[in-house]
């Protein structure tokens, strides 16, 4: 059971990283037992496999020219699936843009994500996901929203947590530091999760910061902080669960640095061969989160790897049908450009819209 004592053993200032299973899925902490039932762990594995399959498919839709720029999740899925297990319906999820599995767990539909990356704002409505913000493109800016949400929940006497995500590059942004500071001073229930995938597009971590690690950045703000093996589902689940409890009990923020590796490109427009070596990629392939969780399950006789192929085939069908739903979405209209700018469309925007409509009527449709 991860507790305050465990937290104390993994001080960021000592550059320690919390880890439960090794690269072969073997438990390395003496007496450790999972706080999840076997079937829950199996389900987590399936969720991870689903995220990975959906992510591969998304990249392939983009390559086929059926979707625009997309940020792949490959290699970071353990963080997302563990988050999805821990985040409750009453909690807020404040994403950056690379947390696919966590979004799905919150209730976002895959077709909405496809619709968004096909270029339609309606994909951000997240019709079945309560308390989930849209993706945030300006790096680290979303962390402040989580702090404001935390203040509002505290003010309204709610017992819930805001989970906010950012990457390693984001920890260089002023908003990251302002968010930690405000959260600490205001004593608000926010869990910050830094997905340290070692690259901000092409810039490696060593050119990003001289900090010992990223968790240590929370220490000066008096935010409880810990570095975790982000490719270790159990380690992530332990720490996220503990963080949620801690934040609720203490009404104080918490910072998790999840150490991982972006196995894919930054986005489909990026080419990682320009800035990193094959050797490095191979080294990290050994720490792949899916493989590690699978090895654990096999060692416990909970999983037959021949099942994977059947599942993937089944998932692909489902994912294709979600994509078809996005493709069948009603055409983008002129109303979609104007009608959500304000609660009531101001006269000036009515005028601009009418002028354009008159032009359209004159030429007989969009050319």
């Amino acid at each position: 059971m991860f507790n305050l004592k465990t937290l104390d053993k993994f001080k960021p200032i000592d550059d320690k990283t919390y880890q439960v299973i090794d690269n072969d899925g073997k438990v390395i902490i003496k007496d450790w037992i999972p706080d999840l039932k076997d079937e829950e762990i199996v389900q987590a594995y399936k969720d991870l496999l689903f995220e990975r399959t959906a992510d591969f498919m998304a990249v392939s839709y983009q390559r086929q020219g059926r979707m625009f720029t997309y940020p792949p999740n490959l290699g970071q899925e353990a963080i997302h699936i563990a988050s999805g297990k821990v985040i409750q319906p009453e909690d807020w999820l404040v994403p950056a843009f690379r947390e696919l599995g966590a979004w799905l767990a919150k209730g976002v539909s895959l077709w909405e994500i496809f619709l968004y990356f096909k270029g339609h704002e309606d994909g951000s409505k997240f019709l079945n996901a309560k308390r989930m913000l849209p993706i945030s493109v300006p790096i680290a800016s979303q962390l402040l929203h989580a702090v404001g949400i935390g203040y509002a929940m505290k003010y309204q006497g709610e017992k819930a947590v805001a989970f906010a995500y950012v990457g390693d590059g984001g920890t260089s942004e002023g908003d990251f530091h302002e968010a930690l500071n405000f959260a600490a001073v205001w004593d608000v229930p926010v869990v910050f999760v830094v997905q340290n995938n070692r690259f901000a597009i092409s810039v490696p971590l060593k050119m990003q910061t001289r900090s010992l690690n990223l968790a240590v950045k929370g220490v000066a703000y008096d935010v409880k902080s810990i570095a975790v093996d982000g490719n270790d589902f159990f380690a992530m689940h332990d720490v996220l669960s503990f963080a949620r409890e801690f934040v609720l009990k203490e009404n104080k923020p918490f910072l998790i640095e999840a150490k991982t590796y972006r196995q894919g490109a930054h986005t489909t427009s990026d080419d990682p061969t320009r800035y990193r070596t094959k050797d490095e990629e191979d080294e990290w392939a050994l720490k792949d989160p899916l493989k590690r969780l699978q090895s654990y399950l096999i060692s416990k006789k909970l999983w037959d790897p021949s099942e994977d192929e059947k599942l993937i085939a089944q998932y692909k069908k489902k994912i294709d049908s979600e994509f078809e739903k996005a493709e069948a979405y009603p055409e983008y209209k002129l109303d979609d450009v104007f009608d959500y700018m304000y609660e009531n469309l101001p006269d000036e925007l009515k005028r601009q819209k009418n002028n354009y409509q008159n032009y359209l009527n004159h030429v007989g449709g969009v050319k």
Partner: protein, 325 residues
């Protein structure tokens, strides 16, 4: 009715809304115990408690960003940027998120918040304390931008801004914070955002101004009157959305227009207003639509402000030129 300064009218508006709506919170740098460096929030913390009126750490981006988080989760924050020049660190939050969240989420989340900013020059201040940033905000889709010029308008416009479900930038002409006193109703009332007011009916020329410049134009009008020039004075009150109707009706009648702004000239509000005149009253024009603005320079430190700030004499000079054109 009670005689109030602009500052008192703004405080009164916040006090009324704080009493009426538990979801309203007021925060910023020094707004709590201190009551703000201009004392605009004076007494509010004592009356409404420190979970509703409070000091934040010193970071404008965070003040705006956290307010967005509050606004989308049920609160209605009123935040203060201590000075115009200090609103710039908050630009990313305001422009990239506050102004866009409704559109990004197709109305699932709305951002009912007010960003109060004391603005403008003429107060012998340090650098970064005398800026006129209204064009930046007026240029940003998704925001409304309001500037009162009287205590009466200040109260009514602020209450409208607080009750609006979209984000409103509320710029306070600090130069006239205490320079003007006026009878203001003690009860709640609103003044609609997007409607200009005609402060003086006139025949020969339309002058459009807002904020602290309104009073300077009024002084110039005394000189104009001595020369039998009749000025129609429009107080714009809202920078965006602009009240086209009032401008059109006035300029169609007078045929001449002068826009007076303290903000620098290029790409500024005056250019926008004059283009509206061109679109709406082109055939009525009897003189070139003209602007009198700040220079395209940094607003000087106090010793140089006499060159930069528009005086009644300069405004009158332009009025007379246009009427004689």
């Amino acid at each position: 009715m009670k005689v109030m300064t602009l500052v008192q009218a703004i405080t009164d508006a916040m006090d009324i809304k704080l009493s009426e709506d538990k979801n309203i919170v007021v925060y910023g740098e020094d707004v709590g115990v201190e009551g703000g460096v201009f004392r605009v929030t004076e007494g509010l913390q004592l009356k409404h408690g420190n979970s509703r009126v409070f000091d934040s750490p010193l970071a404008e981006s965070a003040i705006a960003g956290t307010a967005l988080g509050m606004a989308i989760s049920g609160l209605r924050p009123i935040i203060e940027m201590q000075f115009d020049g200090f609103s710039f660190p908050a630009f990313n939050q305001i422009i990239s998120h506050v102004a866009r969240f409704r559109n990004r989420t197709r109305g699932k989340f709305e951002v009912p918040m007010v960003i109060r900013i004391p603005y403008g020059g003429g107060i012998n201040a340090l650098e970064h304390h005398s800026e006129s940033p209204e064009a930046y905000f007026g240029h940003t889709p998704g925001l409304k931008v309001v500037i009162p010029s009287t205590p009466y308008d200040a109260k009514g416009l602020l209450i409208s801004a607080i009750e609006d479900n979209d984000p409103v930038i509320y710029l306070e002409p600090k130069r006239i914070y205490r320079a003007i006193k006026q009878e203001v109703p003690e009860e709640k009332y609103t003044i609609p955002i997007g409607k200009a007011s005609i402060l003086n009916k006139g025949e020969h020329i339309t002058v459009i101004a807002y904020g602290a410049m309104v009073r300077e134009v009024q002084k110039a009008m005394v000189m104009a009157k001595a020369k039998s020039i009749s000025v129609e004075l429009i107080d714009l009150r809202t920078i965006w959305p602009i009240d086209r109707d009032t401008i059109r009706q006035s300029v169609q009648k007078t045929g001449r227009v002068l826009v007076v702004t303290e903000a620098p000239q290029s790409y500024g509000p005056a250019a926008e207003l004059l283009q509206i005149v061109n679109e709406e009253a082109f055939l009525s024009l009897e003189a070139p639509p003209t602007r009198l603005t700040g220079f395209d320079t940094v607003i000087p430190l106090p010793l140089g402000e006499k060159f930069y700030m528009l005086t009644p004499e300069r405004i009158f000079y332009e009025i007379e030129k246009l009427v004689k054109y």
